[in-house]
Amino acid sequence: MTDPAASSGIHPSPGMPDPLIALDHVTKRFPGVVANDQVSVAIWPGEVHVLLGENGAGKSTLVGMLSGIQQPDDGGILIEGREVSIDTPATALSLGIGTVFQHAMLVPSLTVAENMALGGKAWTRPDRQGIRRDMDKVCTDLGITIDPHARVGSLSLGEQQQVEIVRAVLRHSRVLILDEATAMLTPKGAQELGALMRRLVARGLAVIFITHKLNEAVEFGDRITVLRLGRKVGEIAPDRLRTLGSEAVTAEILRLMFGSHVVGADTGGRRRPTPTGETVLALSAIDVPDESVPVRGVDLTIRSGEILGVAGIDGNGQKQLAEAIAGQRRLGAGTIRLAGVAIETLSVADRRRLGLRYVTDDRLNEGTVGSFPIALNLVLKQVGEEPFWFRGVQRSAPIADHARRLVSEFDVRTPGVETAIGKLSGGNIQKALLARELSGEARVVIFAKPTYGLDVQNIRATRQRIRDAAERGCAVMLISTDLEEILELSDRIAVMDQGRVVGVVDNDADARSRVGALMSGAHR
């Protein structure tokens, strides 16, 4: 496996043709970090090549260099053996490299066909009919349906991704890069994308599939390259991938991704006996007005030391409920009692002072101010309070001390506490958020999709934080769309559907099937 010739993959055995694309010892540095360090990867036609790595492993930088957004500082890129310089996205396109970015690169206010026409000769009329014909053909070949005249903004993220794939095929791309393409998709959408990748490589394209999800890498990939901290730490070739079973491959990848210490299955498992502490959070007859999903008649209680899972398909009122408890939304009706004290009329800050904490799922917009340093983000909810402020004047020393303590306690990987938080990876931003919300006198913590978009290691760390919070006696509400997560952590599970709590079940042996039935609307 670690045989250098095999793992570099760049110099094939004599007689084999050159790879379609070869990255030859490319290095890319950003201020303070080496994003890619001497990485060599070869891309072959007819293969799904998975680039696997944690957040911050350097996957996106590699994609950036292939798609013309960034240029390597050292090393070269070869296409069919010829050295090329991909200095703009336009060059990448003309070289046959199509990229589907994590965040759709489509103009929401234009239609699908108009987006396809983008980049045509300035003074000519966009050939909407011609594009429609070509699109229909490619769509039929690939087995997907897209209305060319639909406005992109009205399409789901999965559909937008399909539009981008069709566009890349229409532009005669020979290599298609899918950057974290499944991050925004439902499990079913991810499966469909996997099937679509198979049809694309069957047409002779090369697909580069970037992911941090192990199961997808094993399931969809023909060849897997593992990146870690900017270095390539291993490659699993197609024949080896086939001969090893999926379990052996998984074990090997884990070893490559996380070093020698094996990250086995969770040791936590089902939790201790049902907590019998006193009720800390009591919601009764809560109504939350909302245009799309009004929340109605929610009654829930959470005891000290208890984790109440809130399951349900995304967008069934979970967010509205969480924001209403946190004080960010007005209640239509009902009462919220925190240790017996009615808090529904209190402000966000007053609720926080009483020990209510809310970890939002919207880390970038609602949770943090990207351009502020980490230190300030960590006291964002205590602005004006001593010891960080004294008579309205900000005191940097206590703020920095506080930040240094939390950064080390919560293992936030950052160059320093003065670094703008927006420059950190998603996993580290989440750690900082957890540090802010879990420090101090927390009594009730609401987690909204706490592990969304994180890599394996950060998911484990976050789940441990949630368990620890409950161990310390907090009442925990865990809102998640990941049923496994709910089943792993919760004591009881409430299921939300269309703004109502449609059932609360104990997390026992047949919880999975009962929760599943409630989620799918069997109660209706």
Binding site: G64, M105, V107, G119, G120
Partner: protein, 311 residues
């Protein structure tokens, strides 16, 4: 009041509405192009003022109004090229640079004008009109709309051309993409900076022409600060029109009518203090903003500098 809506009154009102509305329309149209491409062009007032000054100067010394219009447009473009350099290329704040350009243009034109014409205030001759056969014989709208200087017909043609570009060309798509999601345009292989630069220069051209029109057709004279907020009204028009050039034209005529009501009401012999009448256009702006302001819509990437690959 029954005598108010006489033929003479209506003719004067529409005539004045067009004369006062055309510069607003050119400014609004130009602003709309910039905004569509994602550049909030606050310097447009300065572009108009430089356009008015150079237009007047050239027309005065050469005796050719067409050379005046041409150099007015160039003057506007010259200011716009500063905007393009500082904001589109170098990524400085569009608002700060816009304000600086407007203030700079105000000071510069006032100063130069003072040096040159401190003794006398020369006037240009009235601009000759071009009667459109048949239509110009119609009552009221004939003299008001169809027996006018040809530059007016050209300005209105610019609305049609802009509408065509927006709706029916790849350039229109590129402009919209530059204001809505520049990264997508870049990924499609189009140079965002080039598209935005082109849009800003076109804004300068139209605003400069609007200024030259004010000096040559509207007033026949250059007076310091003569644009008097026309560029800002253009910005309002562009926002309210939500990307539709025709709405800019209609809005400009409405504002123009308010501005010209003074003359028309005098023609009608209505006895209202002129101070009240002069407040009318500004009251109208306020009223329209109150009523329609919330419907104004702006492209998502407006005002933000595009840097490839930045996060």
């Amino acid at each position: 009041m029954s005598a108010l809506f006489t033929e003479a009154f209506l003719t004067a009102l529409i005539l004045g509405a067009v004369t006062a509305g055309i510069p607003l329309m050119l400014a609004g149209l130009g602003e709309q192009i910039s905004e569509k491409a994602g550049v909030l062009n606050i310097g447009i007032e300065g572009m108009m003022l430089i356009g008015a000054y150079t237009g007047f100067l050239v027309a005065y010394f050469t005796g050719s109004i067409w050379l005046g219009f041409f150099s007015g447009s160039l003057g506007g473009m010259a200011v716009a090229s500063l905007m393009a350099l500082f904001c589109v290329r170098l990524g400085l704040s569009q608002i700060v640079i816009g304000i600086a350009l407007t203030l700079g243009a105000e000071g510069l034109t006032a100063l130069l004008h003072h040096f040159q014409f401190s003794q006398s205030y020369p006037r240009l001759e009235a601009v000759e009109s071009l009667a459109i056969p048949g239509l110009s014989a119609l009552p009221v709208i004939g003299p008001a709309l169809f027996d006018r200087p040809p530059i007016i017909y050209l300005a209105i043609a610019a609305v049609a051309v802009t509408a065509w570009v927006f709706r029916s060309t790849n350039l229109g798509l590129a402009l919209q993409a530059a204001g809505d999601k520049p990264a997508a345009l870049d990924a499609a292989g189009v140079d965002v900076i080039a598209v935005r630069t082109g849009a800003v220069l076109t804004t300068g051209l139209l605003a400069g022409l609007g200024g030259a029109f004010m000096a040559e057709v509207g007033a026949g004279i250059f007076v310091p600060f003569m644009t008097n907020g026309a560029g800002f009204i253009g910005i309002v028009l562009a926002m309210l029109a939500r990307g539709r050039p025709l709405w800019v034209l209609l809005g400009a005529l409405l504002f123009g009518a308010c501005l010209s009501a003074t003359t028309a009401l005098q023609v009608a012999g209505v006895d209202i203090p002129t101070d009240v009448i002069q407040m009318l256009p500004f009251a109208a702006v306020l009223a329209i903003l109150v009523v329609f302001g919330r419907r104004a819509s702006l492209p998502p990437a407006l005002g933000s500098h595009y840097v490839r690959g930045a996060r």
